[in-house]
Amino acid sequence: MMFTVPMEFLSAAILTKDAAAVSDELLRIGSLEAVRFKEASGVPASSSLREGMTASDEADRIRDARRRVEGFLALADPPIKPSDPSLFDSTRAPDMAVIEKTLNSVASDIQALREGQKDLQEQLLRMEELGRQAESHLRKGVQARLPQGSSSFLAYLTGSMAESEVPRMERELGQLPAVTIQSPSSMEGRRSLALVCLKRDESRVRGIASRYGWKEGREGESGTAAEKETLKEIEARKEILRLRLGDKAKEFALLFDSRGKELADLWGSLRADELSLRMRSTFSRTDSVSMISGWIPASDRQRVEDGIRKASGGRCYIQWLGVGQAAPDGSDPPVSMKNPGFLAPFQTLVTNFGIPRYGTVDPTPFVAVAYLAMFGLMFGDAGHGLVLVAIGAAWLRKARRGGKGTTLAQLILYCGFSAVLSGLLFGAFFGRPLLPALWFSYHGVVMGDVPPGAAVRSIYDILGITIRFGMAVLAAGFLINWVNLAKARDWRALLFDKTGIPGGWIYGAGAWAAFYFVGHAYKELPPAALMVPLLGIPTVLLGLKEPMDFLEKRRRGKEGPFKAGMAAGFAMEWLVGILEVYSGYLANTLSFMRVAGLGIAHVSLMAAFSQIAAMASPDGGISPAGVAILVLGNVLVIALEGLSAGIQSLRLNYYEFFSKYFNGTGRAYRPISFRSIDT
């Protein structure tokens, strides 16, 4: 947690016939960040070994099939969870022809269902069109009697036909927007009917009906009754079609009920094959021997070694390059940061900025403390904090249920807790000094209502607090950097660089001098006899940095002999460095005044809303308008100030704190495992 995770470099030789089993075991352990042998050795594998197994076509085929299965699994409602790849044996090559046949059969089942849906949908559209026209004319005619005038788009035919022919005719009419209304009884084997269709289809409907012995007749009693039933009939037909469409949706769900497990397992198996191939593609090999190389966290060394020996049946040779030893190609190990889960949002803030250099201090815990402290100082209100806690908790719950990222939700939750804590320190609750302040009343100081004997009495006191806070943050940055430099045995930087001891010394001396000046009513500086060595010694040390660097480079043969012009260069570098230290560190420190600025703005805005609410409540109480103003004011302040405080905290961390120690030249550790997710 204090430093990035120590890494060791693994080189293992195994028999090629054991490669699949070893690969599976390594995927199960999930610790290896593989390095191709030729990359690790700097020598092309082909010069000593045959080219490593790529099998890219096979890998592409497996990946495409896996993505297809993923798509099918996602079609189910709720989506089907795929099986765990580690449960599957990838030592045997998958039969892709069989797998693709299975997938095609699923696709074909789905397509058949969709075709059925499409037919029903078309029928529904036809009925809707008929219904639209019928309704439109009924609205015009008011009466529940269908119009038969020339302006109507509907045709209404009455007549009769042999009862036995009715179902056949109805089937054929099903292809058109038309309904048949039958009389309740038949006479001499013939049934009276009304055919309702769109006028544009009238001749076609008449043609179909006549093929089944239709005899057109005058509208009788049954026809009138049928007329009244037409809309009902259309609605009933639409309802039946909708139900049948619903049945299709159920059939779709059943399809996944019956094939879901098969698909989930297929995904697991394909994913295992895909990862195994990916892992094996990093092995360099001959027909008989395969080489595995890569980085592994030192804590996993024994587990990995045991795993390789077990999977290869002991037929292996393993060599480790211990912590601190360079990789065969001289590259730095990848960087992993091991922090407790609750620090995950802060680790994300760090990695968004950059990956720290291997072996340096992991800044995550420091960022967590600094970020939350900064946020609390800018957004110190217990009520507003509780709102953030509620928002963060709800979002977190939703994100966890939906399997989505929780980083931002967690961060809001923590910021909420920080605001509650600082709200208790400042006695603020929804912009009012309703709680007893455990430290000082921010509201009281800003509004000029300070109790006698209070330690913090004015805005200047608040500015002083935030400047001291900033100095503490910057000092922590110096200390972390010194630890990093000492750990890396970079003594020159530690002793002569502006972020090393001289920089910290100047910063400390400058801070002391500033407080001395303020403490003496801005009238007296510290004695010169003290200030000259205090600032002079580290300033001189800074001047030695460039010559020392030159000597070191010369010792390594990277520089030629000293030339007179170089002295001017050293002097210039020194002067620029001094300017940077004196003005830069001052600016870094004053930058923390924004913490006070935002805190003051928070209180002032809330006080302003309170005053407006009071103006809207002339009777002395609180009117509904006043309540609305207060609610709106609180919402605005929570949203705007919350966002602002979050951004400023991030800025102070990135540009003031990180600039003192952070070296983002690391490379993230990306092991390959059965849990790997492709983005």
């Binding site: 993505r67 297809r68 949908q121």
Partner: protein, 353 residues
């Protein structure tokens, strides 16, 4: 007088942000590589086209999805109108009328099929656009009109009434609706040119470039269609083309129709390089070569849009670029989905895009 910055600043920023919501090439490629229609919808998840999968899953009906795509394109045009300066809004509105005109043509084709050809249209009439259009109220009234006169009456308050009144009876008489469709297109382009003339110099220049490509695409499309009618006289082709100053001259197109010299046309659009490209269209028939030329023009339209996106943001360039890219993307999506429905191979599908 408002400055170009105040007139276009907001909408350009909005559209530049919205541009990122258009599908990335990678997603379209995934859709192209999908093995079935249902799978082709999966890459659209999480994008502005996500609702299409829901529509297809609920209905199994690709035509419903296509209707949604048309509606999406139309509403994208209309949604820009309140944010554009007056003359630019009039121009974009006129462009939207091009989509509206297409919807009307679909309705007239249905009417024509039902009444002049006696074909059943029950399975197609349900897909008519039911949303609000600009110039008239109800496409259903056109499709269901019992006579040509009634169909014209349904459009009497629209800009299309006179043309349909004159053209529909003639279409019934001649057995072809193509001329009526072209008359509607001609009306659209005439109105578009009028709207173009009202734009300022800088906006006018940008819009002119987009229109020129659109006219070329339209003309090439028409030539492809005319090729389908065997024995269509070459001297009559000119009557079905739109002439617009900076595009391929209609006369050159008509001549090419007769001589089948597509390389010359390509040279007119793309310069000498275009002629060389067109030679590479191979020995396919003239329709296929025209279609290849159309694809090149579409590529040109996309290139023009990208150029405008990188150019002056305070002009009509950004809105027109956005609409062009959206329209091309929706066309690609439509093509991909149809190809999946008809089981067209990936290779062949790519040749259509």
């Amino acid at each position: 007088m408002a400055s170009a910055i105040s007139e276009y600043g907001y909408i350009s920023a909005k559209l530049k942000a919205r541009m990122s919501t258009l599908l990335a090439e990678e997603r379209l490629d995934q859709a192209i590589r999908s093995q079935s229609l249902q799978e082709a919808f999966l890459p659209f998840r999480g994008s502005y086209l996500e609702a299409l999968e829901g529509r297809y899953s609920a209905t199994g009906d690709l035509k419903m999805v296509e209707a949604d795509l048309a509606s999406l394109e139309f509403s994208a045009h209309v949604a820009l109108l309140p944010y554009l300066p007056k003359n630019s809004a009039a121009f974009v509105k006129m462009k939207a009328q091009g989509i509206e005109s297409e919807l009307l043509k679909s309705a007239l084709r249905l009417w024509f099929d039902a009444h002049a050809r006696g074909r059943p249209i029950g399975d197609r009439a349900g897909y008519l656009y039911r949303g609000k259009v600009l110039g008239f109220a109800d496409l259903g009234a056109v499709v269901n009109a019992p006579t040509a006169k009634d169909a014209s009456l349904a459009l009497k308050d629209s800009p299309y009434g006179t043309i349909v009144e004159a053209g529909l009876p003639k279409a019934v008489e001649s057995g072809s609706i193509f001329r009526l469709e072209h008359s509607l297109d001609r009306l659209f382009f005439q109105n578009l040119f009028i709207a173009l003339a009202s734009l300022g110099a800088a906006d006018g220049e940008i819009a002119r470039r987009f229109i020129a490509i659109e006219v070329d695409i339209y003309n090439i499309n028409n030539l492809v269609r005319l090729r389908s009618y065997s024995g269509f006289a070459a001297d009559k082709v000119g009557g079905y083309l739109i002439d617009f100053g900076t595009a391929i001259p209609a006369a050159a197109l008509a001549e090419a129709y007769g001589s089948e010299d597509i390389a010359k046309l390509a040279a007119a659009v793309f310069g000498a390089g275009g002629e060389a490209v067109a030679q590479g269209f191979g020995g396919a028939d003239v329709r296929a070569r025209l279609a290849s030329l159309e694809r090149l023009l579409r590529g040109l339209r996309i290139a023009e849009a990208r150029k405008r996106l990188a150019g002056n943001p305070f002009s009509i360039g950004i809105p027109l670029a956005y609409l062009a890219l959206l329209s091309e993307q929706l066309r690609d999506v439509r093509t991909i989905l149809n190809a999946k429905y008809f089981g067209i191979s990936e290779e062949r599908l790519r040749s259509f895009l």
